[in-house]
């Protein structure tokens, strides 16, 4: 995902002479190709996320499309008020990129777990939130992320994630649309971000146990695909939401807000994610996903218990 991001960024920078990249002193190696090609449109703001975000807004007000790059919680929670006041209120063309969604930097410890960022960014008026699942979704989303006006947030993994889509099928992706992965009759697992891999694994396990489970990915968390959710509610009685993130106010929260507002045919929504807690266990991404029941078997077991009326 990360390499796809930088490739798409360079392609857009060739098209848009007003595109500028600012980093908060991160991106070793990753940003080098961009820095080499566009040295005059690259700024290292140092380790100063608050000033960096306000500065990005100021540059955007002067006509720049400013991409702000950092990892974990640094370009989000650390400077949330700057995003609100300086970027969003001014409708500035600031594009915030967080590498390290969820437990990507699992072993680095709690400070580096990005597990509340979608909630935090989603509540701000005028901020679009993208959480692509693989490098193909990332490529599809980047075209929107870098060109649509206003503030946008892109949450991506590090790299090496499995690929689930064919780019030809999702080229021309429209912001706010869900991408169905497979259809089901008993329930759907809906995901945002790289955790789609767990949903797909769970779907296979559940199929072996006799359940027909659909899976869909939501590369855009805000605005969420309300139309698709309404259609699913008319089709199945249960929607599972799966996110490597807190279940409070994030992707699952966004789904609940839509479903609760439907006049009829409301499905039950079961949110799977971090249950309003921090992780202090040391482990890599796969370990922590399994520990918190966010891997394929964990999701399958939880879903099965719900479907059998046991949870």
């Amino acid at each position: 995902m990360r390499d796809t991001f930088t490739r798409c960024l360079q392609e857009e920078a060739r098209r848009n002479p007003n595109l500028v990249l600012i980093t908060g002193d991160l991106g070793f190696g990753v940003l080098f190709p961009y820095m080499k090609e566009f040295p005059d449109r690259f700024i290292n703001a140092g380790i100063s996320e608050q000033a960096m975000m306000s500065m990005a807004a100021g540059m955007a007000l002067e006509g720049k499309t400013v991409v702000v790059y950092s990892i974990g919680n640094f370009p989000t929670l650390r400077c949330l008020e700057q995003i609100r006041n300086c970027c969003a209120y001014h409708e500035a063309n600031v594009k915030i990129v967080c590498v390290g969604a969820g437990f990507v930097y699992g072993t680095l410890g709690m400070t580096h777990h990005a597990t509340e960022d979608m909630s935090a960014l989603r509540i701000l008026p005028g901020v679009t939130v993208y959480a692509p699942a693989d490098k193909v979704e990332t490529e599809a989303v980047m075209a929107r992320f870098l060109t649509e006006p206003g503030v946008a947030y892109l949450r991506i993994g590090r790299g090496g994630e499995p690929v689930f889509h064919d780019i030809e099928k999702i080229r021309g992706y429209q912001t706010g649309k869900a991408i169905p992965y497979c259809e089901g009759k008993d329930a759907y697992i809906l995901t945002a971000g790289g955790i789609l891999s767990s949903a797909v694994a769970a779907q296979k396990l559940l199929a072996e146990r006799g359940w027909s489970i659909g899976v869909a990915s939501f590369p855009t968390v805000k605005p969420i695909d309300a139309e698709y959710l309404a259609a699913l509610c008319a089709k199945v009685p249960v929607l599972f939401t799966l996110e490597e993130h807190t279940i409070v106010g994030g992707f699952g929260g966004a789904v609940c807000e839509v479903v609760a507002g439907l006049p009829q045919n409301r499905a039950r929504v079961v949110r799977i994610g971090m249950n309003d807690r921090y992780s202090s266990i040391v482990g890599d991404q796969a370990y922590l996903e399994a520990y918190y029941g966010l891997d394929g078997p964990g999701v399958a077991d939880r879903a099965q218990a719900v479907l059998e009326g046991k949870a």
């Binding site: 140092g46 960096m52 306000s54 500065m55 807004a57 700057q82």
Partner: protein
């Protein structure tokens, strides 16, 4: 040089601000009075700007980072002709576009909305950075408060602006020595403030922020420093509540609204010193 234009504008800013805060029942008159001479000099004689064309690309930019003194900016903009003076009467009234902390939405001449301290300054830096990238010749001015210098983002900005040699960036510190609850000295000490900025690599000019001759000279020097590769800070020693004796140097007037006899007394003093 005759400073009549800026001195008259400063008087008008104070005069409007007294009425606006009194009518609106709002605070921060002391903070507005302390910077009134600074904004008057900037808008009257220093900045290139065109009230008939607020988005003129070659204009100098001005961001009030101490956004709580917004009434002072609205007053100076209205006096310059950006919008009708009559609109000042709506300040802080229900349905108005002139909020207590300065807002740019629909208000010609306001470059950016501020009010959360430590944010307007780096926004202004972004504007200066963009101008540098574009090879543009205009300057970016920014006024910050002394209490605002408690914010870490002020010093983040000081570091970045130095690194990128933003000599088109002219910051003024309205150093009135009083912050929200008490004096700066008894809250978070800033002195030696000029040495602090100098050690961050800035070109420092320190003057009496109510002396129009000194202000003009300071901004002449600041403009002349463009091309020397250093951002510029004008540390303006000011008096909180300057212009009304019973408001001067009294933390009370960070919050208090002049009404009744106090309003009358303040008005009398301002009128007595009308240029």
């Amino acid at each position: 040089m005759n400073y009549g234009k800026s001195e008259l504008l400063a008087y008008k800013v104070r005069r409007h601000a007294l009425d606006m805060t009194s009518r609106g029942g709002t605070a921060h008159i002391g903070s507005i009075f302390s910077m009134a001479d600074i904004v008057a000099v900037l808008y009257a004689d220093v900045m290139n700007h065109d009230p008939k064309n607020p988005k003129w690309p070659q204009r100098d930019r001005m961001i009030l980072s101490k956004g709580h003194a917004g009434a002072g900016i609205y007053a100076v903009l209205a006096e310059c002709g950006y919008f009708p003076l009559s609109e000042l009467e709506t300040h802080c009234r229900n349905g108005s576009r002139l909020s207590g902390h300065v807002s740019h939405k629909g208000v010609p001449g306001v470059e950016a909305s501020t009010g959360s301290l430590g944010q307007g300054l780096p926004m202004a830096m972004g504007m200066a950075m963009a101008a540098k990238m574009n090879g543009e010749k205009h300057r970016v001015y920014c006024i910050i408060g002394d209490g605002e210098c408690d914010e870490g983002a002020v010093w983040e900005t000081a570091l970045i602006a130095n690194q990128y040699q933003l000599d088109n960036f002219i910051v003024t510190v309205d150093f009135n020595k009083i912050q929200s609850l008490a004096s700066v000295e008894n809250t978070i000490k800033l002195e030696p403030l000029d040495q602090k900025w100098a050690s961050f690599g800035w070109h420092v000019i320190r003057i009496n922020g109510h002396d129009h001759a000194a202000l003009h000279a300071a901004y002449d020097k600041a403009k002349a420093a463009m091309g020397q590769g250093k951002p510029i800070v004008v540390i303006a020693d000011t008096i909180k509540g300057k212009g009304v004796s019973f408001m001067e140097n009294d933390v009370l007037w960070h919050y208090r609204t002049a009404r009744g006899e106090e309003y009358d007394a303040a008005l009398k003093e301002l009128e007595a010193h009308k240029p």
